[in-house]
Amino acid sequence: MSKPLKGFITYSHENTAQKDELRKRLAVMEQQNELVTWDDGQLTPGDGALQKDILKKVTDSDLLLYLVSAASLASKNCNKELAEAIKQEIRVIPIVLEHCDWLYHQLSKFEVLPDKGMPLTQWMDESEGWQNVVVGIRKTIQKMQTQSVLQQGNVQVMLGRLDRAIAIYSNIIKIDPYHVFAYYNRGVVYSKKGEFSLAIRDYNKTIKLKPNYAKAYNNRGLACYDEGKLDLAFKDYNKAIALDPKHVYAYINRGNAYHKKGEFNSAIKDHSKAIELDSSDADTYYNRGNAYNDKGEIDLAIIDYNKAIHLKPNDADIYCNRGSAFLKKGEINLAIKDYNYAIKLNPNYVYAYNNRGIVYQNNGEVNKAIEDYTTAIRLESKHGMPYYNRGEAWLRLKEWEKAKTDILTAKKNGLDIPARFRSGHKNVEAFEKRYSVKLPEDIALLLTERRRTRYPKTQIFLDADGHPIESPNVINLREQLRNAGIPLGEYIKSKSAFGINTTPTEAFVVNKTTRDELIASHTSSTEILKPFLHGKDLRRWYVDTPQQWLIFAHRGIAINDYPTILKYLKKYRGPLSKRKGKQEWYELSASLDDAERFAQPKLVCPNTYNHQTFAVDTAGYYYGNTSYLIPTEETWLCGLLNSRTVEWFYSQVSNQLTIDYLRARSEYIRQIPIPDVTSEQKALIGKIVDYLIYLQHQPTINSKDLAHSRDHIMLGYFERIIDGLVYEAYLREELHASDKHFFQPLLEEQLPPVEDIESDKMQVFRDIFELIYEKTHPIRRNLFFLDSVKLVRIIEGKI
């Protein structure tokens, strides 16, 4: 452990022999560096050591071992040393050598050794008595050591170094697994850190070791409350109050829990009890005030706040809440005065700014209000309210774009926008009439449209104890991505679906030779012979020219117009007729509508894949049911869907086929969130997708010849750039917080669209690649260090 403790031996010179015996018996402890002892026998005679030097030695020690005998009780010096030790609050251990009158001496208030003060002379075997003394001293030392370590932990807490404090407490627990206060204190620190489940675990342990410890119950209750487990919290508060009916904070906490449940009367009752117990604590009045305030008894609330302010005149919280009470009463000036004071007390008080903003806004001083909201946002960008409020203020100034940005940010920060809007205004018309504005349609929708929770939340797997198997990191990230945009199913107007069923494929799908023969014998065949692809033919980005054709004999076809085809299909009449369904034997189950579906621009992907494999098809190819089709002209979506972020999200929400393969399933693909990005950003992603499409069908790109390896690296690098852009689209704040930008530096490069590159396209791409691959280019740097962002590490499987 740490430094040895210093022990001072007080003895009468008549007991020198026993003193030496004691020192001998403490030798082991000295060798183990747990204790060093000193007594005045170590002074060289003739040093002329003064009494005050010896007393200084006492002051310097950690504990005083007092050899109790008739002689020492009579000794002036011994009693001086003892008095000094008591004065300095040094731990005293009396060691009773012989029968004497110590019980009537002040020594009797200390725990004596040997046990129960049995004098050493009385032991049958004196060495047994000494051993008893040594064991007793060792126990005391160990207690003192952990005590001082505990103290170190508490110091760390005060300094705000919570992790170090936890490490120290954990160390104590390692040494002494029954150290109640190490658990208790660690619990408190975990609570401070917001790690409530760990805190609860420590309080459990504390309670197990010290079953009637009301404080532990109260704290555990608070941790449960913070974790949202109100029922458990009540149980603990009740227990704490039962154990200690004068536990003010247990009443306050239970009161707040009732408050949270909406049971204001019970809350007020508990707070009143707390006030009865300690009417000098501002917190008690403050909390009851809050309960009155929320119950609607504003006047009573203000009275309580006044009392709280009287007791604690410099607490910004109280002013802020009294301000809101005044606001409810319509006392605008008093409210502003309180908020001003709260801000004066705490210039970083987000709520005060936000609330003062509301007062200004209600008072028609919109610009002042905006100023306050902006301050609030500057202080804390994670809250939804100031954004929403500023958004509403912008609406009144008809600054639609600014309003929209703010309201969207509020939404992203977790605020329920429609609920918020309705709590202030009856409906859009009422709002428009009140402020004489006409809201643009999209904003009106934003304010009122409640997103249906159409998709079930992802299943969370629980282990035997009911705890999620997945780490909270993963679960949170999944939900964060989900909330970062609107589902693909809503974003895409037309319906996405699989290709068509072509069984028996040997009948309906033909190769080039057969196709040429069919056309040669009757030209009408061309009309219904469509270039066709299977899922397994698909690659990322780009669709190869098909080498097969589908006989598109849709339902209701006038088959007689295509005599050669009919003749050809007859060869397969057997298997064709065995199919179920209402189609004629020569018909596919598809209808003419499907032709329209295939004709439009679309994204396609195979039904099983191990990496996201979407490709852009603008050529109107036909697909079997092993492919999934998303009708859209927005090629940037292909970049989004092939990104690592979407791959991670998709593998999270869908069922994985095996370890490696994913299966495309409509209900999951439609859940993929499409983040909110500007049209310029979409265009940029689209441009890179176009590059990739072009590159993907260049011969050198996928050549096995290592001489062309740099071209392949170029392809991979552009794909990586898409990953970067998509990360920024989904996790903008996280990336920007660590100074990782992709859109901006890439937009500044003003890359040419593929179709504008006239001369040697490949050379131009190589030049572009070398430019942005340069080790100092921000794109290269940011890609290289992208995984310093924690969420990216989760997605890339590095945590």
Binding site: D163, R164, S170, S709, I713, R780, F784, F785
Partner: protein, 478 residues
């Protein structure tokens, strides 16, 4: 961003606490140390400190746990604490890595620095000695993939080359598992491309650096790509042949040119260029543990210039066990930018040298070092010898020594005084006045515990005289 202070406690070879202050500007560090003195532990301390930032869910990866590096002689939990500053005017940030504090290094700055490939130790270069010379060719595959470029990061997979290579070497698929074989071959294909690309990228810089070494040559790599042999389940063609092209003259016999020293130079050039071609993190450090040892002295000077040219804004940590080289670097570098430190056997805060690690008397060691012109070591051993003699004498004679709670706090003075003034049983003094005077004289300089700091002013003759005095003391006392 520079490291301004390093505190290492109970980590590997470091018992107790060792602190290296690199001043507010974050100087480069030059360390001289004998083998076993903790040089390599310093190297590993920095390396693992950065790596500890990569939180991993891999249970088997214990390297990130401080516990596995705890000094085995000490139960007191250790730590490594680094202080960093953006520049001398900015605020100091301190990061701790220890058993108890795990998350603190999990920080953007340190994660980014850990991708830098900034660590090279002498073991890597020993491998150049085992390179095969077949038909005048040298195969660099293992050296490059597993050592020199091992921690360079692929722009595509965003993993290190070594990790990509390990991935390929996972148990090979069964013969009929077509999909898995396809996947493996695709991975190999990408690995080949990636490696080819990297070799192309680093070639110009490597040649440039070699020219600074004074070799007017151009090097190239012949890499045909690793292939998977489905029948034998082996990875064939693990071969990167070194091709050397001479500008001035054609020297066909490579093996004559490619001696070990030149291969060492080439290895260093490859390592430095593969580090240089990567993007740079804010905290740029380059730690070279004894790597120059394989080079001829004449080839070591250029390295200093190369570091200056290519890694000017890096913080350099050089260690060496070559005393002469250490002194030369000291001469050639500016102490405004460099800090010089020496590690000795088990040397701790007060240069106490534990008896157990020694097999020869201190006095002999002291003389030996004097012969090697290593004055500093000589003096340290001499002082230790002196202390040992007087302590032993006090114990033997049971002389009463000043009381001190912590025996370690006893100073030489506490032992010396009773000897100086004490008398034998017959009443004569322990020592003659002449001996006392000599010892007193050298105690102020040579035998002073702080002698380390003022060593520059100690002359050889003084040390010789001091050794004599201590020898005299020994013969009178023991």
């Amino acid at each position: 961003m520079k490291i301004t202070n390093i505190e290492i406690k109970n980590f590997r070879a470091f018992p107790k606490t060792y602190e290296i202050n690199l001043s507010k500007t974050g100087k480069n560090l030059l360390v001289y140390g004998e083998n076993g003195s903790g040089k390599s532990s310093l190297y590993l301390a920095l390396k693992y400190f950065l790596e500890s930032s990569k939180d991993s869910n891999d249970e088997s990866n214990k390297r990130n746990d401080f516990e596995s590096h705890q000094n085995i002689f000490s139960e007191d939990p250790g730590h490594i604490i680094l202080s960093l500053r953006a520049d001398q005017w900015s605020k100091k940030d301190t990061y701790e890595w220890s058993q108890g504090v795990k998350g603190e290094t999990n920080n953007e700055l340190i994660t980014e620095a850990s991708k830098s490939n900034g660590f090279l130790d002498y073991k890597a270069l020993l491998e150049t000695h085992y390179l095969h010379h077949k038909n005048d060719t040298v195969n660099l595959f293992d050296l490059l993939v597993k050592t020199l470029m091992a921690s360079t990061v692929s722009p595509l997979t965003d993993r290190t080359l070594a990790d990509d290579w390990d991935e390929i070497q996972k148990p090979y698929p069964r013969k009929n598992a077509k999909n898995q074989i396809d996947n493996l071959e695709k991975r190999i294909e990408n690995f080949n491309r990636e490696l080819t690309n990297r070799l192309t990228e680093l070639r110009p810089t490597t040649s440039d650096i070699l020219r600074k070494f004074g070799y007017n040559i151009d090097i190239d790599f012949d890499f045909q790509g690793v292939t998977y042999n489905r029948n034998d389940k082996t990875l064939d063609n693990q071969q990167i042949l070194l091709k050397v092209e001479f500008f001035d003259t054609q020297i066909p016999a490579h093996h004559q040119f490619l001696n070990e020293a030149k291969l060492s130079a080439i290895s260093i050039a490859i390592y430095l260029s593969s580090t240089w071609i990567q993007p740079e993190s804010k905290l740029k450090i380059l730690v070279l543990d004894d790597v120059l040892i394989g080079l001829d002295m004449s080839n070591r000077f250029p390295v200093l210039d190369i570091l200056e040219d290519y890694f000017n804004d890096y913080q350099i940590f050089l260690t060496t066990y070559d005393k002469a080289w250490y002194e030369i670097v000291k001469q050639r570098t500016d102490q405004k930018y460099w800090k010089y430190t020496e590690f000795y056997f088990k040397a701790t805060d007060k240069y106490e040298i534990p008896v157990c690690s020694e097999d020869r008397p201190y006095l002999e060691k002291s003389k030996e070092y004097l012969n090697d012109n290593d004055y500093k070591s000589s003096v340290i051993y001499l002082r230790t010898a002196f202390e040992e003699i007087i302590k032993r004498f006090c114990e033997k004679q049971k002389l009463s020594v000043r009381y001190c709670e912590n025996p370690k706090k006893l100073t030489t003075e506490d032992f010396w005084q009773p000897i100086k003034t004490g008398k034998k049983k017959d009443g004569s003094p322990f020592l003659e006045n002449l001996t006392i005077n000599k010892i007193e004289q050298y105690r102020t300089c040579v035998l002073n515990p702080l002698s380390h700091a003022i060593i520059v002013n100690v002359y050889r003759r003084e040390i010789e005289e001091a050794i004599k005095a201590v020898e005299e003391l020994e013969s009178s006392l023991l």
